[in-house]
């Protein structure tokens, strides 16, 4: 398997110049997913504020990734996708959208897009937790599933 076989031009573009990487010092929520043993760890930082309608939006988002080209590219693209979105809309994101935005991913790398979605969920979960909000049932359930996934090989 090599880069040509695996990666679209868009993947390589995000990999070469990732968007929104780094730390947010005083983040409202941080999601950490993956497992260094498997070679993939993603840390997503979010900063929340409200839009004109009073809905909570993801005002800023940054990522840090230990991982392969696909892991870095999916991290980068998810920040693009959700930045400025309401939390409500952000939680609607599916791995398929990420894959599509990247012009496809090789089958063996699809788990990286799952990692990105997981990271976002975890960051929002963390924000809810920290801000002592009620955590919706589906998010609680997702959180548990993610913890399970982190233990296993992805």
């Amino acid at each position: 398997m090599n880069i040509a076989e695996q990666y679209s031009k868009l993947v390589m573009k995000h990999f070469k110049k990732p968007h929104n990487y780094g730390e947010i010092k005083n983040a409202d929520g941080i999601g950490t997913v993956g497992n260094p043993v498997c070679g993939d760890v993603l840390k997503l930082y979010i900063k929340i504020s409200k839009n004109k309608k009073g809905k909570e939006i993801i005002k800023d988002i940054k990522f840090q990734t230990f991982g392969c080209i696909a892991a870095i590219a999916t991290s980068s693209v998810i920040t693009d996708i959700v930045k400025g979105k309401t939390i409500e809309d952000a939680l609607k994101i599916k791995k398929e959208e990420i894959i599509k935005k990247l012009g496809g991913l090789p089958p063996i790398k699809v788990h990286c897009s799952v990692l990105a979605v997981d990271g976002l969920y975890e960051a929002i979960y963390d924000y809810y937790k920290k801000s002592k909000k009620e955590i919706p049932f589906f998010l609680e359930k997702a959180h548990k599933e993610i913890l399970e996934r982190n233990k296993k090989e992805r």
Binding site: K16, C38, I69
Partner: protein, 386 residues
Amino acid sequence: MKRIYLDNAATTKVDPRVLNLMKKFFTDKYGNPNSLHSFGIEAREAIEISREKIANLINANSNEIIFTSGGTESNNLAIKGIAFANKSKGKHIIVSSIEHHCVLETVHWLEKNGFKISFLDVDKYGVVNIEKLKSLIRRDTILVSIMHANNEIGTIEPIKEIGEICKDYNILFHTDAVQSFGKIEIDVKKYNIDLLSASSHKIHGPKGVGCLYIKEGTKIEPILHGGGQEFGIRSGTENVPGIVGFGKAAEICKKEMKNEKRRIEKMRDKLINNILNIENTRLNGHPKIRLPNNVNCSFEFIEGEALIGILNEFGIAASTGSACSSRSLKPSHVLLAIGLSPEIAHGSLRLTLGRFNTEKEIDYVIKKIPEAVEKLRNLSPYKKRW
């Protein structure tokens, strides 16, 4: 952009002198060596000359060299061929745990077909445990297969000692010399080697050809049946241009080995010294007893495929033992066998030098690697510690 090729353990550029000799066998002397006529004669002569050149490089007789399609086939032929030919004597085979996939997959297949396999472990440098070897030998052991030098970490195994032990116990000894052949001295007689695999495309010869040295008198069963070419041991129309190229490549190696070794070792050491200046970095493989052309390091906090990706952007072609670069999503079994944690194995980088690398290239690489590592560490959630 000028590209710098530092993946010579994966494959090499064909030496123009080699290609030059090969050319006429495609369009001029294109006969089948088994044909009676003049086209056949000249093809036959050409492959016999090649056979001698190959034999010369390892102090074998030319009738002990069997041409194959490459290192993988040579290893399959050696191990299956000996297993099948000796199964009435015994069904136990010993291999090291850091063999190439084509040895490991072959013995796994044999295991499924009724053979017993023992895996010999290695120390933190990748050197096989010689004492342990003796303890693994059983009455039904028919074959020991231990590579001469490892393709990932470059460690050279003590094959002379292994050869002696095998001789003492009257067990056949096969060594996969795909990475050492043509780079360091090999003497099949001195080392008591019964079978030895080599591959042309690792020594600036063409892809699609390799050979197996089989000591005279060794009983072996073919794995490719047919017209009875190669002394009946490997059927199929001989790849004449390939064989001619392989022979020439071996001849050049023999002639230039001494100087090349020195030149390449110097570049290797320069690379290693500079890379180890980067913090949280380690050398994999033996610090001294290693192939002249192999550098293998691990950078903490970053992942190898990504590192290869960035180096590729810098025009540098390299390789990694990270899971993400493999079909199986498992990190290199070699790096794990020498005791690396998976996360460190994921951060490994292999640079392997060849005849066409220059000092100038190395200087560029030395400048670029810290840059690449830095870039990825900047993306990483771990910066100084896991």
